[in-house]
């Protein structure tokens, strides 16, 4: 995730360049002449978005005079393997195009070392959610091809005789093996998780609860004080949820619903003061912990339509950037949020300036439908360039395709299991 301020006066030219990368509004041409995303087969999603400081003015409701912040360019990708390797790969194979883009940013002189510059501007996220940890672009594509082939092949008639379902499954298995042998299908075995990653995950698994246990006595003692501090703030913090201007809404809508998946980029100021700053920091550490240790298998609490989501602190933790890729339309995404994980949204975003009033960090807030819907649209910024490696594919079918492959590769199944597997097709 590279974030860099745009140089003075360069914004119009940068916008034009970004625009030239698109095949239709907001949708990157996968083989565009600037950065041909399609050649990077470890890249799931990528986006380029301009982040302005328009909503900094909201800080005035807290009596804080906002600082002017330069408009930033954010280049965000979701990839397989270490991000640094992919960054190096990008610098190597799309260097000239990236240099053209970043030449509009402050401090990128012509002839600068692109990779070193990108690394210097690379930000780590405060929390990240990955729908299915370890599912690679290659796996997604191969399994989708497998599903299509099998769905066209499977006999669509009732299975009557005992043992027939399992016999059918084995026949299909043999057929797939032949197709693989003939080079018409590919099923690459999953790459093992690098040892370093396993170690880091284990360290995270131990460290976060450990800190929690150590701090527990302190937390118990501080709980009443925390409750008082929280509740006074929740009662007092101003709401700021005006309706976004229709022109802004149209600019966002123009980019949406061109694929089953959509993008969301939003930015906002954190409420001033140490209380909210620390609270949000702790909550993001816990969110990250939950996403890394628990929500790694296709769901974030009840929501199953988010591919990737990231929270990132900017400007010395005075602002938070939230980006996600989700299936369905924006209205559906927001209704899903309110109805399924409204509590989770409140937990994090109620630390942002103007969020609809919450009670005890999880109640109210996003459930105040009208205010919440205005708030989230008002904080959204257009994503100028957005790339998805597997157009048309939704999470629900990726999950099913995985089950199809797993079932196919299983040595033996009972008739009931084989029948359930056939019904996936």
């Amino acid at each position: 995730m590279v974030v860099a301020p745009v140089a003075a006066g360069q914004e119009p030219a940068l916008r034009a360049l970004l625009h030239s990368m698109n095949a239709e509004p907001g949708m990157a041409d996968p083989r565009n002449g600037v950065v041909a995303f399609a050649q990077f087969d470890r890249l799931h999603f990528a986006r380029l978005a301009l982040l302005d400081d328009a909503l900094q003015a909201d800080l005035r409701v807290h009596g804080v005079e906002p600082k002017r912040l330069a408009t930033c360019l954010a280049f965000i990708g979701d990839c397989d393997g270490p991000a640094d390797e992919v960054l190096a790969d990008l610098a190597q194979r799309a260097g000239p195009g990236l240099a053209r883009i970043f030449a509009h940013c402050e401090g990128f002189a012509g002839g600068a070392d692109l990779l070193a510059w990108m690394r210097a501007h690379d930000r780590s996220t405060a929390a990240s959610f990955v729908n299915w940890v370890g599912r690679s672009v290659r796996q997604i594509r191969e399994e989708s091809a497998l599903q299509r082939a099998l769905a066209a092949r499977v006999p669509r008639r009732p299975v009557a005789a005992p043992g027939e379902a399992e016999r059918l499954r084995r026949e299909l298995g043999a057929w797939v093996a032949a197709e693989v042998g003939a080079g018409r299908l590919t099923l690459t075995p999953a790459a093992p998780t690098p040892f370093g990653w396993q170690l880091a995950k284990l360290a995270n698994l131990v460290a976060v609860p450990l800190v929690g246990i150590v701090a527990l006595p302190l937390l118990v003692i501080a709980a009443p004080l925390f409750a008082v501090l929280l509740r006074t703030r929740e009662a007092r913090d101003p709401e700021l949820c005006p309706r976004p201007p229709s022109a802004d809404l149209d600019a966002l809508l123009e980019l949406e619903d061109r694929d089953i998946t959509n993008q969301y980029t939003a930015i906002g100021a954190v409420k001033p003061g140490l209380f909210r700053r620390w609270l949000l920091t702790v909550l993001l550490v816990l969110t990250n912990f939950a996403c890394r240790q628990i929500f790694t298998r296709g769901y974030l609490a009840r929501v199953q339509t988010i591919h990737f989501a990231h929270w990132l602190f900017l400007d010395d933790k005075s602002r938070v950037l939230f980006v996600s890729n989700y299936d369905g339309s924006h209205q559906g995404y927001m209704d899903d949020f309110i109805n399924k994980v409204g509590w989770g949204l409140n937990l994090l975003f109620s630390n942002g300036v103007g969020w609809p009033r919450t009670r005890w960090l999880i109640f109210g807030g996003s459930r105040i439908e009208q205010s919440f819907k205005y708030y989230q649209r008002r904080h959204q910024v257009p994503t100028q360039v957005w790339y998805k490696a597997y157009p048309g594919l939704a999470l629900v079918e990726m999950k099913r395709n995985q089950r199809i492959r797993r079932g196919l590769e299983q040595a033996a199944m009972s008739d009931d299991q084989a029948l359930a597997w056939l019904r996936l097709l």
């Binding site: 669509r156 379902a165 149209d250 619903d257 009840r302 559906g332």
Partner: protein, 496 residues
């Protein structure tokens, strides 16, 4: 016991409460304002039927609704118009994103509509209902009265097909029951059973909705409105222009009855029993309205008695073995609660809420139904086509279909959501490559994936799958309207 104010039926247009079923004759007039002053004079005094019950029913009933263009054409200030919901202000047929979401692409494209596309928005919608034999005279009289102020853009005739929609299925069985007595407390609480009882604020502006909140609508300075408008419940220092009004969605849907039955017949290999089975699977009900999900024996709040054609949910058929997941009525109203069903107790509740119950999660792809209900008020048009005709003739000579009408307080969360996330969705409940079997456009997805399938899951093997469904329904026109309360109507006719 609710302490909410009683509902003033005399300030609500009758269509919100009644379907005017005795008034089997109806005609919908789409008007454009020609002479603003004459139009306003007429609208300021025209008798409009209210939601008060009258016995015996009057011979005729008139209802009036405005598009946002229409409000502007009548001289209503931009500041007032722009305070209505964004979808209403934008209109149905002049935004490419909306067209993508609603499935108004390909042959449904607004540029091909007979009315409602960009530059051809109706200003005022008059809905005329009459007892048998009374429409012609009523239509003539209303036409003559409003001639001075308006041009008639289209006169949408309707026909009485006796409660059967043109494909031959009993229609209009599922309707929400409005909480007219305001029994339901106005607060935000999780509901773990499907209920057919629905908060007034889901259909009428100015009342609390299912979230216990109020939908945005123009709240005016009382100095401007005087005593002509009621005060807002949630902001007593403001006059509420929305109160007792609703948004009305109108879409003219042409149905290819011949195409439908001939396709189904080909799939059935000419076998009559199989033909009925496939057609009902696509709809989700038998032609006489009996739901495929099986004998309806559930008690549902606000949902009639067990045995009623509307007293059922899909809880007992989660995999769609009896009623396919993608059947038209299952897409339009999935009848689920806020949380997938599970064992009683707080542990099960917490597991389901946090997503730790894999079984519940697998059946949690479709959102809570109660936020996405439609109060339907459509009428058929054209001549009915019998099954024999549909199979025998090459194609129909006439034009038949549905003037789809629904009312709601939130177009985006109700009509647009149902149309986009449920009906037209090509991944509804995880189904691959299909959209609504009746309404689908069959336009391939952006990546070329076909969307013209229909699957009928079965217990004993891979789902039976139809492919190559043609488009059966074509959109010929559409618009969003505001159906004001009576006082709001008079106010709009006089304000500047």
């Amino acid at each position: 016991m609710s302490t909410a104010l009683p509902v003033e039926f005399s300030d609500i247009q009758g269509l919100v409460r009644f379907g005017y079923k005795h008034h089997t004759e109806a005609s919908f007039l789409l008007l454009r304002v020609r002479d603003r002053d004459a139009a306003r004079r007429w609208l300021g005094a025209v008798p409009v039927s209210t939601a008060e019950a009258i016995e015996p029913p009057p011979d005729t009933a008139l209802q009036v609704a405005f598009s946002s263009e229409g409000l502007r054409a009548l001289g209503v200030a931009d500041a007032i118009v722009d305070a209505f919901a964004a979808d209403f202000v934008a209109g149905m047929g002049n935004n490419a994103n909306r067209a993508r979401r609603l499935g108004d692409v390909g042959t449904n494209e607004p540029s091909r509509w007979q009315w409602g596309g960009a530059g051809r928005e109706p200003h005022v919608l008059l809905l005329l209902y009459a007892l048998p034999g009374c429409l012609a005279e009523f239509r003539r009289r209303v036409g003559a009265e409003c001639e001075g102020g308006f041009d008639v853009m289209a006169d949408l005739a309707t026909s009485d097909l006796d409660g059967i929609e043109p494909f031959g299925f009993t229609d209009g069985l599922s309707q929400p029951l409005l909480d007219w007595e305001r029994r339901r407390a106005a607060r935000d609480a999780e509901r773990n059973d499907y209920s057919n009882l629905s908060c007034l604020g889901e259909y009428l502006l100015g009342y609390p909705n299912e979230y216990g909140g109020y939908t945005d609508r123009p709240l005016l300075d009382p100095a401007l409105a005087g005593t002509r408008l009621p005060r807002a419940e949630d902001a007593p220092d403001r006059s509420d222009l929305g109160r007792n009004g609703s948004y009305l969605v109108l879409r003219q849907l042409r149905q290819d009855v011949h195409g439908f039955w001939q396709f189904v017949d080909r799939q059935a290999g000419g076998d009559a029993g199989r033909r009925e089975r496939i057609a009902s699977a696509m709809v989700g009900r038998e032609r006489d309205g009996v739901p495929l999900v099986g004998p309806a024996d559930e008690t549902i709040e606000g949902g009639g008695v067990p045995g009623d054609l509307n007293a059922f949910t899909y809880r007992s058929d989660r995999d769609g073995l009896r009623c396919p997941l993608g059947a038209h009525i299952r897409r339009s109203n999935p009848r689920n609660a806020d949380l997938p069903p599970g064992a009683p107790g707080i542990v099960s509740w917490a597991k389901r809420t946090l997503g730790f119950d894999a079984d519940a999660l697998a059946h949690d792809l479709v959102a809570s139904t109660r936020f996405h209900r439609l109060l339907r008020r459509g009428r058929e048009y054209g001549t009915g086509v019998s099954l024999t005709q549909a199979l025998a003739e090459a194609s129909g000579s006439g034009d038949t279909g549905l003037h789809f009408i629904c009312l709601g307080a939130n177009i985006a969360r109700q009509f647009e959501f149902v149309q986009n996330a449920w009906a037209m969705a090509v991944r509804f409940d995880g189904l691959p490559g299909e959209s609504d079997p009746l309404l689908g456009t069959r336009e391939p997805a952006a990546d070329g994936t076909l969307t013209d399938g229909f699957s009928m899951p079965r217990a004993d093997g891979a789902a039976e799958r139809l492919a190559g469904l043609p488009q059966f329904v074509t959109v010929l026109g559409g618009a969003y309207f505001f159906l004001p309360g009576i006082r709001a109507l008079r106010f709009l006719a006089t304000t500047r």
